[in-house]
């Protein structure tokens, strides 16, 4: 009897999680998909939305723009990130520790803050623009394609850097020596041995950059101006005051998901055919480098690190500048902070509250799902594991719309509530925790739990008392990454917020749109400081400086 009950615990969890997924992921995505085939007036089935999209240049151009931008960003990020990873792994670079932290900070800070601070620097009334204007020099416009390329590339190349350095660490130095003993050296060795070994990792990282760029709403919204891309198009169509249609937005969102899904599957297929394992007995030791070559390499790295950290510094600096009627004046003050605390305090509270609730749910669900996928392998738990990866291919703004369409009527009237925001956050950012949880679970021997059960514990007791406790350090490192991305979430929140449920990132976006740069900077500083502090905790908890997302 008791045995049957024990077995039931994990079955109940499985059923419960499948229920959650069906309700909050499968059903909404299905609604989105179907909604795209409906007429906004009559609710009748139609292909109208799709014919409209593909027949008008206005829309197809946005899709092409998205592709063009994303492809360029990915290429530039790879060109910046790969040499950086190579130099940092093969040569002794002065100040390596600090540089690594700078790269990670710039990677973890939200895209739109980067866009915003480049506006502060190079925008129409930007510091640098004004300064150069004073000297009679006209700067090219930061708005549009060029600006987005700059912001995205500088923001996303650290992903390439992190992934590729991770892969370079796994290369045994004997492979490099073997190439040399066969008569190969220099660039030739790099291209016939080193690069092919990191290519699968590079492809995975490039995909991450691609997805991130394709799905980002904040950057094009702030800096894109006339350059239309899909996320902004979907947003304006959905929330637009000028007669937008939810059904047409759903159609465009579906197209976006299709595109990302195809690219995701291509990458998966590539990785599966190309994968090989490497184990390194002697990792590559960085060599000393001097002379002109060393100087140029150092210059490259410092310049890149400087450019990446400028946005953060600019934001913090701006937040302390004195303002008068939203216009910066000479001198410094805490005015912006005072204003934030009097007008936007709710958004700060919201951010912390929603994200804390979300992270709690994420940790619990993440541990359960990881356990099911690792320890209770079956087609059902495999399915759960696969579905849990869905959010990878659903852009944030699309996920926002998806949930709005699904829960915009009774009995599940969630639109406008904080619940829908929290649900979205959980879905969006669970993957990191899930991955780190299964990672640590593979390292914990099942016999630990079996020992507890053999000594008389029930299944749930054994899980919570033994396995869960041993999992915690691993789970924590993933949870902190989830947390950092949670507090910086904009793409989906901007679809779902109301005046009452505004979060910090949404507030910053609103303030920037209203050209209220001082308060935006103060809020962004609070967000950045939270991010950096969380990162430092992450380094402490995980005991390493590697962030793999």
């Amino acid at each position: 009897m008791t045995k049957k009950l024990k077995w039931d615990f994990w079955t109940i969890i499985t059923v419960f999680i499948i229920g959650l997924f069906l309700l909050f992921l499968i059903y909404p995505l299905l609604s989105l998909f179907l909604s795209g085939f409906k007429d906004s007036g009559t609710d009748a089935w139609t292909l109208e939305n799709y014919t409209k999209f593909f027949s008008r240049k206005y829309y197809t151009e946005a899709l092409m723009n998205s592709f063009k931008l994303t492809a360029c960003v990915t290429v530039v990020a790879v060109l910046l990130g790969v040499p950086l990873a190579y130099f940092m792994s093969f040569y002794k670079i002065k100040g390596k520790g600090v540089l690594e932290i700078l790269f990670i900070i710039s990677m973890m800070s939200p895209n739109f803050i980067g866009a915003y601070s480049w506006i502060l620097l190079l925008g129409r009334s930007g510091t640098v623009t004004q300064f150069l204007k004073g000297m009679g020099i006209e700067t090219p416009s930061i708005y549009g394609f060029g600006g987005m390329l700059l912001v995205f590339a500088l923001k996303l190349y650290p992903f390439i850097y992190m992934y590729v350095s991770g892969a370079l660490k796994k290369i045994d130095v004997a492979l490099s020596e073997a190439a040399e003993s066969l008569g190969c050296s220099g660039l030739r060795k790099v291209f016939t041995v080193i690069m092919p070994l990191v290519t699968p990792t590079l492809v995975a990282a490039a995909l991450l950059v691609f997805m991130n760029c394709m799905a980002d709403f904040g950057t094009p919204a702030l800096i894109g101006e006339g350059y239309r891309v899909m996320p902004t198009l979907v947003y304006y169509e959905f929330v637009g005051e000028s007669g937008g249609s939810a059904n047409f937005a759903a159609c465009m969102a579906t197209i976006m998901v299709m595109v990302t899904a195809v690219i995701f599957l291509l990458q998966k297929w590539y990785i599966n055919t190309k994968s090989f394992t490497m184990s390194s007995m002697r990792p590559i030791q960085p060599k000393k480098i001097g002379g002109i070559k060393g100087l140029l390499i150092h210059l490259y790295i410092y310049l890149l690190a400087g450019l990446s950290i400028i946005p953060q510094c600019m934001v913090i600096y701006t937040s302390f500048r004195a303002t008068h009627l939203q216009v910066f004046t000479d001198g410094y003050s805490l005015e912006s902070y005072q204003k934030v605390f009097s007008t936007a305090i709710q958004s700060i509270k919201n951010t912390y509250l929603y994200c804390l609730v979300a992270i709690a749910i994420i940790v619990i669900l993440g541990m359960f799902i990881a356990y099911l996928a690792v320890r209770r392998k079956s087609w059902l738990t495999n399915l759960i594991d696969t579905i849990a990866m869905f959010p990878y291919i659903v852009p944030g703004s699309v996920l926002g719309i998806t949930l709005l369409i699904a829960f915009n009527h009774q009995p599940m009237m969630l639109a406008g509530t904080s619940i829908i925001l929290i649900i979205t956050l959980v879905i969006r950012r669970m993957a990191y925790t899930l991955r780190s949880s299964s990672g640590i679970l593979y390292q914990i021997s099942p016999s630990m739990e079996e020992a507890a059960i053999s000594l008389g514990d029930s299944h749930p007791k054994a899980f919570f008392k033994v396995t869960a406790k041993m999992m915690l350090p691993g789970v924590a490192s993933g949870a902190i990454l989830s947390w950092i991305t949670l507090i910086n979430e904009l793409s989906s929140s901007v679809m779902l917020y109301t005046a009452k449920t505004r979060t910090m990132s949404v507030a910053i976006y609103n303030e920037v749109i209203r050209a209220s740069y001082g308060t935006a900077a103060a809020l962004a500083t609070i967000l950045t400081v939270t991010t950096v502090v969380s990162l430092l905790i992450f380094f402490k908890v995980s005991g390493s400086k590697d962030v793999t997302m």
Partner: protein, 372 residues
């Protein structure tokens, strides 16, 4: 094609730390030469100096008459087999073997023929289109060997290539390596810490300790006539006894501390009456003899072909700090084995045992060469 390697007063330093103070050796053309020693003795360091992965801080290394000190690794035309094999995981077996040939711009037809040939020699043709991931350790080892040999290098360098294999495969692979090496006839430098492997595979062995070659010789010489006590105890087991030389007229004897004397006729002429020496006796160099030295059996291990007895002699007869004093009894010719606690009498074979100076640094047996 193949060359002899001349190592002349070579020095290796890492900063202030000297790994190899002054090392000379001559490796003959076509020879299988093994560097043997405990970990940290500098054998791998020396190999990597020959390969070009370690710098040379003093002296020279030459291939035939060409000094290679300043030639980078990729220009030395060496074949190297690594401890971790270092098979390129992104290339198939065939592509791995082709890699060095492609760099040498060998014509397609010749390349195919050479690759086919070497794959056959190392017996991995059937796996040629597989990725290395799907190969066993022994197969990967064969790929590494093929890849190193196919480029027709001047020398073949092997860094503990068998240490990652299990015992059975190790024995199989070592004869495979030996066969391939003889077939190709290439000068080979082989590094190992496994003395049995070294004895089985080598033409000559250099035994190293703390960056200094203790002895160079054929496996038989190294085993039978070690130059010093380190070599005699590192290769196989040796029991070390204190003794004194007694010269009376034309007769030379060794007097052990328990009063036992043994006549010797192969000691160097320079030994003098009363000289303190150390005698090294291998477990198989004892025989049961009523006129032997008395000892007690304190333990025994039955090993099938023979039984190993662990012995105790009287106080001060043997050197302290020896892990054990052993006698091997060949079971081919005896009916019963001794019990623990039994007292037996053993006689060392004077034609086989070795005698060292008191500091154990030098053999006192006639015609023992340090560097042969």
């Amino acid at each position: 094609m193949s060359v002899n390697i001349n190592i002349d007063h070579t020095v290796k330093k890492y900063g202030d730390l000297t790994i190899i103070p002054d090392l000379s050796a001559n490796i003959k053309n076509g020879e299988f030469f093994t560097l043997l020693g405990p970990s940290g003795c500098g054998k791998t360091t020396l190999l990597r100096m020959i390969a070009g992965f370690n710098s040379i801080e003093g002296g020279t290394i030459s291939f035939d008459d060409q000094v290679i000190n300043d030639i980078p690794a990729q220009k030395r035309n060496i074949g190297m087999v690594f401890q971790s094999y270092a098979i390129f995981p992104h290339l198939t077996v065939r592509q791995n073997v082709e890699y060095g040939l492609k760099l040498r711009k060998i014509p397609k037809a010749e390349m195919k023929q050479r690759v086919d040939e070497i794959l056959q020699v190392v017996r991995i043709e059937e796996y040629q289109d597989r990725l290395p991931d799907r190969l066993s350790g022994g197969q990967q080892q064969r790929v590494a060997l093929a890849r190193a040999i196919v480029i027709h290098p001047q020398v073949l360098l092997m860094d503990e290539p068998l240490s990652n294999l299990d015992a059975k495969l190790r024995i199989e692979m070592r004869s495979a390596i030996r066969d391939v090496q003889k077939q190709v006839g290439i000068t080979t430098v082989y590094v190992t810490h496994d003395q049995e492997e070294a004895l089985a595979i080598s033409d000559r062995i250099a035994v190293m300790k703390l960056g200094v070659i203790q002895q160079i010789g054929s496996p038989q010489d190294i085993y039978a006539r070690p130059y010093n006590a380190f070599v005699s105890t590192f290769i196989g087991h040796s029991n070390l006894f204190y003794a004194t030389v007694q010269k009376t007229g034309s007769q030379t004897c060794l007097a052990f501390r328990n009063g036992y004397t043994l006549e010797m006729n192969n000691l160097v002429d320079s030994v003098i009456n009363g000289q303190q020496v150390v005698v090294s006796v291998r477990p198989e160099e004892f025989s049961l003899n009523d006129n032997g030295m008395e000892c007690e059996i304190i333990n025994r291990t039955f090993l099938g072909k023979y039984t190993n007895y662990f012995l105790r002699f009287g106080d001060g007869v043997v050197l302290d700090d020896q892990p054990s004093i052993e006698y091997s009894q060949d079971l081919g010719h005896v009916d019963s084995i001794f019990d623990i606690g039994a007292k037996i009498r053993l006689r060392p074979n004077p034609n086989k045992i070795n005698v060292f100076s008191e500091d154990m640094e030098q053999s006192l047996i006639r015609d023992v060469k340090r560097y042969d």
